[in-house]
Subunit: 102 residues, 2 copies
């Protein structure tokens, strides 16, 4: 019997600005966003950078719930990607503005 890991990503029209802004307002998560903007398909391990996995898992969940992140499960590994297109269509210019400083 196979168990499917269900990760629920909110739909584009359900993204809430306050949730997105809150997800972006933590320094750790903002760093993740910048790393993911620079490189696609990063696994959790590449994003942890020495921080405890359980702390990171918490941040991933926050970002997924806010609609910032999409996770693709590839066997053992979770590949993380920003939902840049979705965010752009819902909140035009937002991610560009957040990513620009540096």
């Amino acid at each position: 019997m196979s168990k499917v890991k269900i990760v629920t990503h909110p739909q584009v029209q359900d993204l809430e600005l306050t949730k997105v802004l809150h997800a972006l307002s933590d320094p750790v998560r903002l760093e993740l966003v910048r790393m993911l903007a620079a490189q696609r398909d990063l696994p959790c391990s590449a994003l942890c950078l020495g921080r405890p996995k359980s702390s990171m898992s918490h941040h991933f969940k926050t970002m997924i719930n806010a609609g910032l992140l999409r996770v693709d499960v590839a066997g053992n590994v979770h590949l993380n990607n920003l939902r840049l297109d979705d965010l752009e269509s819902r909140f035009p210019g937002l991610m560009a503005a957040v990513l620009e400083p540096r």
Copy 2:
């Protein structure tokens, strides 16, 4: 003897993106931002809308510390204004993106 009420607004170069995003991520404060984007020089009384003054004072402080708001004291009344120019020069496009949805 006169006592001067000192309100310290952070300088442009000291604005921090995470603080700004956090200040924007609360529904009440986001509403204040939208009201202030539509109309300048609003006093606290015009922004409270039935909510307790002490709650509002807390939000104003958060917004001032983040650099979102500038307060001009005019006698009895505090005139609030978004620091749109400062925010634009520090985080180009951010406020436009936040204000656009609706």
